[in-house]
Assembly symmetry: C2
C-alpha cells in the first residue's frame, strides 16, 4: 500500500497540446477517412474567406483534389485563394503551431476562432503520410512569393520548416499572382459523393457566401464552378469589447488585476462595450467604489460588488443601472434575400419564407438567428425535412443530432403549420427544407471540429421563436391561398351560372335578359384584391400588378400598401399612380373612391433585381371593409419598422435585465416577426 | 492594400491552453448550469474510481452538494474518496494544470484520459465564483493530510497555490482517515432531478461499478446510498504497447527518430505489442532492412517500407507477416452477469438478454463491446426505448443523438425482433431499454466532455453485430415462449377432452373406460422439455428442475445439456444424476432410455449466487427427435467455447488483415453470439 500514491504520481507527465490533438484528432474532425477530407477543405476555405473579408477582397477560391494512391487512400489537397497573403515570418506559426491565431481574443463574427484548424490539417497530413504541407504565399508588397514546407514537432508544438525559397508565382494564364496563399497537403482520406461530401460543402458555402467565386476540381478531373453572384462583400465586422452582462467573476478579477488604468471610470469605459460615462459613474456608486479607485487595487469583495452592479443586483434608487446594448456591427447575417436566393437555388420549389430575428445577446455575446423554409411539391413528402445548418456562414455537415439548431427545429410542433410530425416532436416530415443560420461573436460548438452547437438556453429560445414565426408565415400563406381559391370559385360560379339562369329564364318568359351586375355584387358582397408579381424577361424588370375589385353595393375608399425589397437595393419605376413611401420597404397608394362593381388597378416595376429575387408581393390595406387577398395593416408593426430605422442599435437597456429573463427588453424582444411582410412565392 | 497582410499578421498571438478551455468551457461539458454540475461530479468520481482501481482499493465515494446561494445558483460540491491520496508535490499539477496526467501516454482502459477533467472543474469554479478549490489529501505513509487551496493562472496554465497546511484528517466518526482525497469547489450550477441529473449519473455509475460504495447527499440534505454489491475489484488492467496495425506513418517516423535501440529486432519487440522474435525478423526481411540496422538512422523510404510490412502490403512468400493479436488484459468489460443484474435493478421487467462480443482491434487499439436488452410489460410501449450508454464504465448522459453507440442502435431493423420502428431505422419504440458499453484503451469521444463517441467503422460494426445477435436472442426467446404456450394448450386440451369423451362414451356404451395414454401419446407425438429455475429463499440456492416428457410411441435416448454461470463462480450441488462438464459453463447428463409416456427428471442447485443472478436455464439436447422447449446442440458452438478457453488471446493473426477488412479473422470474427447460451428471464 505504502508508496502506491507516489508510484502513481511519478507516472504523471505534462502533455503537449499538439500531442493531445494528434491523439485526439477526431476532436478536430479527423475521425473517418470520408470526413477528414471535408474537414481539411473546410479549414482551408474558412481561412481563405476570413482573410479576404478582413482585407476587403472579393474572394476567388480554388480547391483541387488529386488522387495519389487510391489503394492506400492517399490524396493531395490544394486550396488557393487571392487573399492578402501571409508574411514570411508568420507562416510557420500559422501553419505549424497549434493555438496560434488572431481571432481568439477578438469579439467579432468570424469563421476561424481558435488557431487550430489549418495546423490540424498540417498535423493530420504529417501523421498519415509523413509529408509536410507546402505553402506558397505572396503579399502585395513583395515581388516574389515564399515557398516553404511546414511540418509539426508535436512534442514541442513548433513548426519544422524546410526547403524555404522565394519564387515568382505565376497564374495558369501566365499573369503574375498579386497576392494570395496556396496550401498543398497529402493525407489519408477518402473522397466520396453525396450529402456529406466536399462538393456539397462547397455548394452550401457558395449559397451563404454569394460574394465568393469558387472553383472545385474533383479527383476525376471534373470542374465545378460556383460563380460570384454579388460584388457586395459582407458588411465589415468590427471587433467589440465584452459587454458587462457577459462577464464572469473570475474574468472580471483578471481584468482588474491586469488593468493599467488609473481610475475606475476609464477602466469601465475602455474595457467594456455599452458603458456610457454616466453608467460608469453609476456603476461605481452602486458598487460603493470611488470613481478614482485604481482597478488593480480592488479587493475581492469590491470586484464582487462591481459584478453585482453589472448584473443589476445592486441598484440606485431601486433601479438597475442602464447599459447600452452591445453594438451589432460585429455581426454579419446572411440576410433574407440571400437566404431566399440560396434556398431556391438549392431546391426548386414553391413557397419560401424567411425570418431574421433582431440581434440578441447571450452572456455578453451578440448573436443573430436567421431561418428559412422552403415548402413545395418537388420534395419527398414522407421523409424527414432536410435541415441546412450554418454558423457564421459556414455549413455544418456532421453531428446533426447533437446540435442545438436541430434541437430547436425539433422542439416546434410543426403539425400546426402543415407538416407531418408523429408525436408533435422531432424532425418533421414533409416536402420541405429548413435553413437555420447563427451569426455570433462567440459560436459555442460542442468540439473543435465545429460541427454542432452546444446547448445555450438563450440561443435555443431565439432559434425556436424564429421557427415559430416562420411557421406562422407558412400557415398564413396556406390559409390565404385557400381563401383566395374559394372566393375565386364562388365568383366564377356566380359569373357562369347567374347569367345562364338569367338567359334561360328570359328566353322561357320571352323577356329581355336583366342586368346582373348589381345582383352579382350583392351575392359576392366582398372586396377582392388580386396580385401578380412576374419577371419580365424583355425589360429585365419585375412587374407588379394589383387589382382591387369592389363587389359590394357601396362605394369604398382604401389605402393600398405593398412590401418591396428596398433594403436590398431595388427601385420602383413605372409607378403611374405615384403614391408615397410609408416606411423602409413599404410603399402606399390612396384609392379614393371605388364604386360598386368597379375595379382599381396599381402597376409598377422593380429595377435592380435579378430573376427569382422577388416572386410575390404582399398587399396590405387601410380601410373599413375587409379585403379578400390583402392583409389589414397592423399600424404597430409599421411603427416598429420606422422605429428600427431610427434606432440602429443605440438603445439603452437596464443592467442585469438580460441576465434575468434571458432577453433584452423592449427593442429586441418586442420586435415583430417579418415573415408576413417578406414572405415570398416563386 | 499594401500592409494589410502585415497588419493582420501582427494581431496573431499564441493562446494558452488554459485560456482556450476557459473560453471553450462548453467543450469540457460546462455549457448549461444544469450540465455543469453533472460534469463536475463526473470528473471527481471518475478520478476517484480510477485511482482506487489502480491502487486495488475497494472505493468508498462520497458526494455532497450544498446550496450556497440559490438566487445566484451558487453551489458547493464535495467529492471524497478512500483512494491512495495524492502526494503533496503533485497536487498543484493534478488540479491546477491542464493536460497533466498519467493516462495519456498509456494504452489501457481507464476513465480519465487527458489530464483535463478535474483541472477543468477548478477552472470553472474560479471563473464563475472567483474561488479556489480546496484539496485535502492524505497518503498512507504520511501521518497528516495536506490541506491547500488551488486556483489557476489561465494565462500561464499554472496552479496558484494558497493556504497550504498539514492537518489531521478525522472521519465523521472521529477515526483517522488513512488515505484519500477530498475536493471542495464552489461553482455556478443548477441542481435538478430527472433523467439528466447527478442522482441518475451516480445511480448508473453504481450499476456498472458494483464494487463501489457510493453515498450522495443532495442539496435538500437527503442521503442516497448505493452499497457495494461485490467485493471483487474489476480485473487489473495492464498498459500495453501499441500494436503495429494501429500505427500511422508519422507516428512510426517519430518512434524511429526517438529510439535509442541498437538494432531493429530490439526496437520492434520492445516498442510494439504482438511482435514475436520471428515476426520481428520477418518484418525486417520484408522491409529489406538489416536486423542490425539502427532505428534512429532509418531513411524515410525505409520507414515507409516497414509500415507497409506492418500493414501486410509487403510479404514473404506471398504471405503477410503474422503478428499476435494485442493482449486484451488491458480491457475490463462489465461482464454479462453484472449487466443483467444492473439492468434488472434499474428497470423491473421480464426479459433480459445480454451479449458480450470478443475483444477486437481498431487502429491497433483493443476494444470490446457489451450490450444488454430488457423487454417487458412495466415499460411504456409507445415511447422510444431508453438507451443506456457507457464507455469504460462511465455513464454517458449527453449528446445521445451524435453518439456512435446510438447510431449503431438506430441502424438495426428492430421490427424483425419484435420492436416497433417506423421506417425500419431510428431509435425503436417499445417496452424495452438497451444498454451498450464500450471498453477500450482509446475511447474516441467527440469532445473533451466525453459524452459521445465519434465515428469509427470498426467499432460501429462490432456494436451493430452485438445488437443483431442480441435481437436474434430476443426473437428466439419470444418464438420459443409462443411454441411452448401452444404445445401446452394442445396438451391440456387433449388431457381434458380425451378422458372426458372416453368416460362419456364408456358410460353410454356401458363399457369400461379405456386406457388412453397410448392415444394421447400418439396425438401429441412430441418430446417436451420443461425447465424451472427458482431462488430458494430458505437454502439461499438457485434450484433448477428439468423434466423431459416422452409423448411419442417410441423409446427415446438423449443427452441433456444446460448452461450455468460457472465463470461467475457458481457451483453445482445436489446434482443426483451426476453427469459431467462438457465445456466451461456447460453441464451434461445422459438420459439413457425414456419409454413412451414416461418422463425423466433432472434436478440440481446452484450455490455461490445471489437472488436475481440466475433466472433462467437454457436447455440443449443431443438426439434425433426434436424436443419442444429445448435447443438442439450446435456442436460447432460448443467447440468454439472450448477453443476460447484454451486460447486466452494468444492467437496469431496475419499482418495487415485487420486493416484490410476491418476485422480480425478467425478467432474473433468467427465467434458466435452468446445470447442464446446466456439469455435469461426473470
Amino acid at each position: 500500500m505504502a508508496g502506491i500514491a507516489d508510484k502513481m504520481a511519478s507516472n504523471q507527465k505534462q502533455i503537449a497540446i499538439s500531442e493531445f490533438f494528434e491523439k485526439n484528432k477526431h476532436f478536430l474532425g479527423f475521425d473517418t477517412l470520408q470526413r477528414s477530407i471535408i474537414t481539411a477543405v473546410k479549414e482551408g476555405v474558412d481561412n481563405a474567406l476570413d482573410a479576404c473579408e478582413e482585407a476587403r477582397i472579393l474572394p476567388d477560391i480554388r480547391v483541387k483534389i488529386n488522387k495519389i494512391d487510391s489503394k492506400k487512400d492517399i490524396i493531395e489537397l490544394i486550396t488557393e485563394d487571392n487573399g492578402p497573403g501571409i508574411p514570411q515570418k508568420s507562416i510557420e506559426k500559422v501553419f505549424g503551431q497549434l493555438l496560434f491565431g488572431s481571432r481568439f481574443h477578438a469579439i467579432r463574427q468570424s469563421r476561424g476562432q481558435q488557431g487550430i484548424g489549418i495546423t490540424g490539417v498540417v498535423m493530420y497530413s504529417q501523421l498519415t503520410t509523413g509529408k509536410p504541407t507546402h505553402i506558397l504565399s505572396k503579399v502585395a508588397s513583395d515581388a516574389t512569393a515564399v515557398s516553404v514546407n511546414i511540418g509539426l514537432d508535436t512534442r514541442k508544438n513548433k513548426a519544422i520548416k524546410s526547403d524555404q525559397d522565394r519564387i515568382i508565382w505565376e497564374n495558369d494564364d501566365h499573369t503574375f499572382k498579386e497576392h494570395g496563399v496556396r496550401v498543398t497537403s497529402r493525407m489519408k482520406a477518402k473522397y466520396q459523393r453525396g450529402r456529406q461530401s466536399v462538393f456539397q460543402y462547397l455548394r452550401m458555402t457558395s449559397i451563404v457566401n454569394p460574394h465568393a467565386d469558387i472553383i472545385f476540381t474533383d479527383p476525376d478531373g471534373e470542374v465545378h464552378h460556383w460563380p460570384r453572384v454579388t460584388e457586395r462583400l459582407p458588411g465589415k465586422v468590427d471587433a467589440i469589447k465584452p459587454h458587462p452582462h457577459g462577464i464572469e467573476l473570475g474574468q472580471l478579477q483578471r481584468m482588474c488585476k491586469e488593468s493599467k488604468d488609473s481610475r475606475m471610470t476609464v477602466f469601465l469605459r475602455s474595457n467594456f462595450s455599452g458603458v456610457s460615462m454616466r453608467a460608469a459613474k453609476e456603476l461605481c456608486e452602486a458598487s460603493e467604489l470611488a470613481v478614482t479607485a485604481k482597478p488593480k487595487s480592488l479587493k475581492p469583495d469590491q470586484i464582487r460588488a462591481l459584478l453585482e452592479s453589472f448584473q443589476g443586483e445592486r441598484m440606485i434608487n431601486n433601479k438597475a443601472i442602464k447599459l447600452l446594448s452591445p453594438p451589432t456591427n460585429c455581426l454579419s447575417p446572411i440576410e433574407e434575400m440571400l437566404i431566399k436566393k440560396g434556398l431556391s437555388k438549392t431546391i426548386d420549389s414553391k413557397f419560401i419564407a424567411t425570418m431574421t430575428r433582431a440581434p440578441n445577446v447571450s452572456h455578453g455575446n451578440p448573436f443573430q438567428v436567421e431561418v428559412g423554409l422552403i415548402f413545395g411539391e418537388g420534395m419527398a413528402a414522407d421523409k424527414p425535412v432536410e435541415i441546412l445548418r450554418f454558423a457564421n456562414r459556414v455549413p455544418l455537415m456532421y453531428q446533426q443530432g447533437g446540435c442545438l439548431l436541430t434541437k430547436a427545429v425539433e422542439s416546434v410542433d410543426w403539425r400546426q403549420y402543415g407538416l407531418d410530425q408523429p408525436g408533435g416532436r422531432g424532425v418533421p416530415k414533409g416536402p420541405a427544407a429548413v435553413l437555420v443560420h447563427l451569426a455570433s461573436t462567440n459560436v459555442q460548438f460542442t468540439s473543435e471540429a465545429k460541427e454542432a452547437l452546444s446547448d445555450n438556453e438563450i440561443v435555443f429560445e431565439e432559434t425556436r421563436k424564429a421557427m415559430l414565426e416562420m411557421g406562422r408565415g407558412l400557415r398564413k400563406h396556406l390559409e390565404k391561398k385557400k381563401k383566395m381559391a374559394k372566393t375565386r370559385e364562388k365568383f366564377e360560379l356566380i359569373n357562369d351560372i347567374l347569367p345562364a339562369i338569367a338567359a334561360k329564364s328570359a328566353s322561357i318568359l320571352n323577356r329581355p335578359v336583366p342586368a346582373l351586375a348589381g345582383s352579382i355584387t350583392k351575392i359576392m358582397s366582398a372586396v377582392i384584391c388580386e396580385e401578380e408579381t412576374v419577371w419580365n424577361t424583355e425589360t429585365k424588370l419585375t412587374d407588379v400588378e394589383i387589382i382591387l375589385f369592389n363587389y359590394t353595393s357601396r362605394a369604398r375608399s382604401y389605402s393600398l400598401l405593398v412590401n418591396w425589397p428596398e433594403k436590398e437595393g431595388a427601385e420602383i419605376t413605372a409607378n403611374e399612380r405615384g403614391g408615397r413611401k410609408e416606411a423602409m420597404g413599404i410603399w402606399a397608394w390612396k384609392i379614393e373612391t371605388l364604386d360598386p362593381g368597379e375595379q382599381a388597378r396599381v402597376t409598377y416595376s422593380l429595377s435592380g433585381l435579378e430573376k427569382g429575387d422577388w416572386n410575390e408581393t404582399e398587399v396590405f390595406f387601410r380601410g373599413n371593409q375587409d379585403v379578400i387577398g390583402a392583409t389589414k395593416l397592423d399600424e404597430k408593426m409599421l411603427e416598429e419598422i420606422r422605429r428600427q430605422e431610427e434606432i440602429l442599435g443605440d438603445s439603452e437597456i437596464p443592467a442585469g435585465e438580460e441576465e434575468m429573463n434571458g432577453f433584452e427588453p423592449g427593442v429586441v424582444e418586442g420586435q415583430p416577426g417579418q415573415t408576413t411582410l417578406f414572405g415570398g412565392e416563386q
